[in-house]
Amino acid sequence: MVIVKKRNFKKQDIYWYIFIGILILIPLIPKVAGNTFIQHVLILILLYASMSQAWNIIGGYCGQVSFGHSVFFGIGAYGAAMAVVKYGMVPWLGVLVGAVTASIVAILISYPCFKLKGHYFAIATFAIVEIFNRLFMVWDWVEGALGLDYPLVEEGWKNFMWYETKIHYYYGALILFVIIFSVVRYIEQNRFGFYLKAVREDQETAESTGINSTLVKLMAMGISAFLAALCGAFFAQYSLRVAPPMVICLSMSMTFVLVTILGGAGTFFGPLLGAMILIPLQEYTRVLWGGLGSGIDLILFGFLIVLIMVRQPKGIMGLINEFLNYKKNRKQNFPESQVKE
């Protein structure tokens, strides 16, 4: 029976490798190779999918819905930016420092917060984002509200900076994407993933089966924050500018949450599906109708969220499962249709 499960995993693995292969080859398509806007959209899809997958670890699989992740994203962004802008170094050490710092901060602030239940916890995470936002605004070391602007540096992987084309950024985003998704895949198929789900389902029952739920939650938070910080670092290197309202704000936090929920929280492909729908919608409506302050893209975004929450809170993956179950039930209840097929 265990063999059957292994075979299922293998089938999914093959789809996954094919998908990565496709992603690697996409930039070779002439339409993509020549169009920086499409490259930009693809990069954002990969970035947001990665960010949301990082959030998914604690928010989706473990069920602790935190609206504070932009703090970790921001710390990662500042880590990279500070290294390059303030200390004139290559970003990589800054990225590492940022990720580790984000992880430590996450564990320290979430430990007391995990005592809180339901909406109290959610509101605490709002409070934390707002506090960090204000703190960064007045902190001179990070240039406060002015933010950090990237100087011109030599192009290439050492500095992780390119100006002429976005193709290299695309592959950078793809590497980030594969790293984060692989981490989550590993978690999902092994003990830690099961423990995350158990804590989400019923914490008291999980404890009675020997799970130290506080430790599980803290570890999930630490890993999630580390990965979110990596995404922040990429964002800084890509946007060439970092400021508190850009990276440490409630709207960025909400984006993490919404993309995951839209695709399906607690599922492996959810964050990717969510990003694949939301990012093109966001970018194309902004180009078509956005302009300055027309807000139509956000109106559509809002409608989409309402629709999904009302119709299928489990997101796109939920809709897919609904459809598959419907087909399975039809086969069982109507043998004639089975004969036809």
Partner: protein, 252 residues
């Protein structure tokens, strides 16, 4: 030295004394039944032993180690596992995954944990339901699932809280057989039960609680004749009647 020593456990909720100086031992490899009318404090005692509640007074010694006031997950690690009166399965996960949660306690490797889970699946007669969503099972199957999950953690002492409630008589017989098989594997049992035909035949010893106090502790066939036990369940009238009968038999 007994496997589990309950020493003078008292638990107060405000002014309500749910457990009052309860003491008894559970010997290794035995089945001990814990009975008593509703509200006697049986589940509260379980909660004190497994760390869900902090006992107001007293000690719990397991395998020579003082486990009083340890958090539930630590108690489970040491080998004391319980099931719940109101069954708690992880509803959204499959039956197999539920048992895996238990198996992962001792075995971090997914394949080896899977083998343990399979073993427990078979032992608890759940083979046909392996990939079913746990929330969709009937209550009898859910209880068996909880038992399988508890079994997968490799327990030394299994504490079952009314695991027969809501089962059909066939299911009760199957569960009794299951417990007997598990006893052969060397697992010790402390079982709270109301269904007498299930617990009396298999228990090595019965402990009776009433109103938070232990009123009797003896072999099953002695317990059913104990006046205090009869009074606790049926009231003074019937215990008086029994006493009168005894007197009549003596003189007659």
């Amino acid at each position: 030295m007994a496997l589990l020593e309950v020493k003078g456990i008292s638990k107060k909720f405000g002014s309500l004394l749910a457990n009052d100086n309860v003491s008894f031992d559970v010997e290794e490899g035995r089945i001990v039944g814990l009975i008593g009318p509703n509200g006697a404090g049986k589940t509260t005692l379980f909660d004190c032993i497994t760390g869900i509640y902090k006992a107001s007074k007293g000690k719990i010694i397991f395998s020579g180690k003082n486990i009083t006031n340890l958090p539930p997950y630590k108690v489970t690690h040491l080998g004391v596992v319980r099931t719940f009166q109101i069954v708690h399965t992880l509803k959204e996960m499959s039956v197999f995954d539920n048992i895996m949660i238990g198996a992962y306690l001792r075995e971090g490797n997914s394949e080896k944990a899977g083998k343990i889970a399979d073993d427990c699946l078979k032992a608890c007669f759940l083979l046909g339901f392996k990939d079913k969503r746990a929330g969709d099972l009937t209550i009898g199957l859910k209880k068996r699932l909880e038992l399988a999950r508890a079994l997968a953690t490799g327990p030394k002492l299994l504490m079952l809280d009314e695991c027969m409630a809501g089962l059909t008589s066939t299911e009760v017989k199957e569960s009794v057989e299951l417990i007997k098989n598990l006893k052969k594997r060397g697992i010790t049992f402390l079982i709270v039960e109301h269904i007498m035909e299930a617990i009396m035949p298999i228990a090595d010893k019965i402990v009776v609680l009433d109103g938070g106090i232990k009123i009797a502790e003896n072999k099953p066939d002695v317990i059913i004749r104990d006046e205090r036990v009869i009074e606790a369940y049926f009231g003074k009238k019937y215990s008086k009647r029994l006493q009168a009968k005894k007197e009549a038999n003596k003189h007659g």
